[in-house]
């Protein structure tokens, strides 16, 4: 998996080094909704996370971006769950802009490391979750600027074996 991730990063750097591409970067304030189920038992955690993204447009309305975040913790059932980090690579598809706004979709792959502390025992500790991620958002020009945008986004980062990790964010994106 790491080799494939490196391949994707190489592809992106190749792309950026070869051409004078439209680059962009952004920061996001996230809520990460994590639900863990085991039979009739379930727990929900909503830690906050601060994230960033860096990307490039390959074509008009089509880009690739790297995203990452790190966050706080949340508690349920006397279990503390925190986000150590989340990293991912995604393809970005935007609709044409209309009245200063547009819809975009993200399709990618990400890895999330969570830390769980059950009743102060420190166990079970860290675990990583990697999966196909997908979602989208809406984005608007900020103050009439053609470089600064504000966006609302929802992404599913992980959904396997009765564990789901979803995110909702409010972010700013600057197009260089």
């Amino acid at each position: 998996m790491i080799k494939k991730g490196l391949l994707a990063v190489l592809l992106m750097s190749q792309c950026m080094s070869s051409y004078a591409l439209d680059l962009y970067a952004g920061i996001d304030a996230n809520y990460i909704f994590t639900e863990i189920e085991e039979g009739d038992a379930s727990a929900e955690f909503t830690p906050a996370a601060l994230g960033g993204r860096f990307g490039a447009y390959l074509e008009k309305g089509v880009g690739i971006e790297l995203y990452g975040m790190t966050g706080s913790d949340d508690e349920d059932l006397d279990i503390d769950l925190s986000i150590n980090y989340m990293l991912g690579l995604a393809a970005r598809f935007e609709t044409p802009e209309s009245e200063g706004g547009k819809i975009y979709f993200l399709l990618g792959y990400g890895i999330t490391e969570l830390d769980m502390d059950r009743s102060g025992s420190g166990e079970p500790g860290d675990a990583t979750f990697h999966d196909f991620s997908y979602g989208g958002g809406v984005e608007f020009r900020l103050g009439g600027s053609d470089k600064l945008f504000i966006n609302l986004q929802a992404i599913r980062y992980y959904a396997q074996d009765d564990i789901q990790i979803d995110g909702a964010s409010l972010g700013l994106r600057f197009r260089f």
Binding site: A8, E37, D40, E59, I64, R118, F129, H130, D161
Partner: protein, 427 residues
């Protein structure tokens, strides 16, 4: 200009390739989704949801023969201080699978001589207990009777016997109840299961024997039991009033016995009494489960210590009062009718609205239930524009002259769906 177009084409081709490669990478990566700690996370949630603070492994023996099984239980001490069996939730392991293996249900099998640690784990909680698989020879068997007295009444069940094995060079006997062969010398008087549980049937004396082969030498232990036919004083069958069983459906009856040596107690003797139905309308199994066969009335009785198959037949010692059972054809939901099944409702536009009513129709034609504003009813305008529905209570408002079709859909608690429609003609 041509140079620019060629450059643009090249860029387009290369970028598309990059995007294509990226999408292929993502799709291929998606097959690799997973986690290195999801089970531990889920166990932690389960443990805290159940409020488990510790677990303990328990079993009958810490030393057993080679080639036998030993059943383990994991007991949690929940925060409420009530004990919970979490045997099926924990992960079981043996420190040496070649000596003792253990399955996910906590049943260990001894394979060769040695001492192992049997371990139960869930989340970060664990407990363990040593198990010694020993080749020591069985020398004698003694039987303890738990709570079973020397004399008991007829048709009792649930009394437990324990077989204790005394092995060479061991001071403490082992519980070998589940590995000995149990027999009764008078199975018509009393029976014993493979687990040492006793059921009495009729008055008499019986000898129970527990036996096991020790390298070709049979080792046995035995105990006597007297079944007193006078101790059982009465049997009551429940339920005993207003019992209705539909054809094809079933009803579980219970038999409760009263014994003179157990004042103030009633004992569930459902499994040991003889059940009877007075006729063919109802069949009752040996465990008191009655099934409706045909319409009519039947009397159900439970009796003890009789045998009507012998010649002459032996009358039961005690027989319960008869419980009258009515076997009936089940009433099923057949239809729903708007305005008693009228096909149309003619109204005048100036009336503004009309209230429709819907009733359920049952197979026996009785008790039509008004479901006009029932939560399981759904009203819809399925054709026409002359009317509209506000709310879900069958009130139809007129918007123009013309014809509309109003429908109602109803689903009962068994999932049976019925519907009806009516034309509303607005003049």
């Amino acid at each position: 200009m041509l140079e620019y177009i060629e450059s643009f084409k090249q860029r387009l081709k290369t970028r598309s390739t990059v995007l294509f490669a990226l999408l292929v990478s993502i799709i291929s990566l998606s097959a690799c989704g997973g986690s290195d700690g999801d089970d531990e996370f889920k166990e932690a949630v389960k443990v805290n949801y159940l409020n488990i603070t510790s677990i303990e492994v328990i079993s009958d023996n810490s030393i057993v023969e080679i080639g036998v099984t030993e059943v383990y239980q994991a007991i949690s001490n929940a925060g409420t201080s009530t004990e919970n069996d979490v045997t099926s939730l924990v992960r079981w392991s043996s420190s040496n699978d070649t000596v003792v293996s253990i399955n996910s249900s906590g049943v260990a099998t001894t394979l060769s001589e040695g001492v192992v640690e049997i371990r139960a784990e869930i989340a970060d909680l664990n407990s363990s207990k040593d198990l010694n698989a020993s080749p020591a020879l069985l020398e004698s068997i003694s039987i303890t009777r738990d709570d079973m007295p020397a004399t008991v009444g007829e048709c009792t069940n649930g009394y437990q016997m324990i077989a204790n094995g005394n092995y060479e060079d061991e001071a403490t006997p082992r519980n070998i109840t589940n590995i000995v062969d149990w027999t009764s010398d008078e199975p018509e008087v009393a029976t014993v299961t493979d687990e040492g549980e006793v059921a009495t049937l009729k008055g008499g004396s019986v000898i129970f024997t527990a036996s096991r082969d020790a390298e070709g030498v049979p080792v046995t232990g035995s105990t006597n039991l007297t079944v007193d036919r006078d101790l059982l004083t009465s049997i009551v069958v429940t339920p005993d009033t207003d019992v209705v069983v539909f054809i094809g459906a079933s009803q579980q009856f219970k038999a409760l016995g009263t014994y003179s040596d157990l004042p103030g107690e009633t004992i569930d003797i459902t499994d040991t009494v003889d059940w009877a139905s007075s006729d063919e309308h109802l069949e009752v199994s040996t465990k008191g489960l009655a099934e409706g066969i045909s319409e009519g009335n039947s009397d159900v009785t439970a009796s003890c210590a009789g045998d009507l198959t012998t010649t002459p037949p032996i009358d039961p010692t005690v027989i319960s009062p008869a419980v009258s059972v009515s076997v009936e054809t089940p009433v099923i939901l057949e239809d729903i009718a708007i305005n008693d099944g009228e096909e149309f409702e003619e109204v005048d536009l100036s009336e503004l609205s009309v209230q429709l009513r819907a009733n359920l129709v049952y197979s026996d034609g009785s008790n039509p239930k008004d479901v006009t504003d029932d939560e399981d009813s759904t009203w819809e305008v399925t054709d026409g524009t002359a009317t509209l529905l506000l709310g879900n209570e069958g009130k139809v408002f007129f918007t123009e002259r013309g014809t509309s079709v109003i429908s109602i859909f109803y689903t009962d608690s068994d999932g049976t769906k019925v519907s009806d429609d009516i034309k509303v003609i607005v003049n």
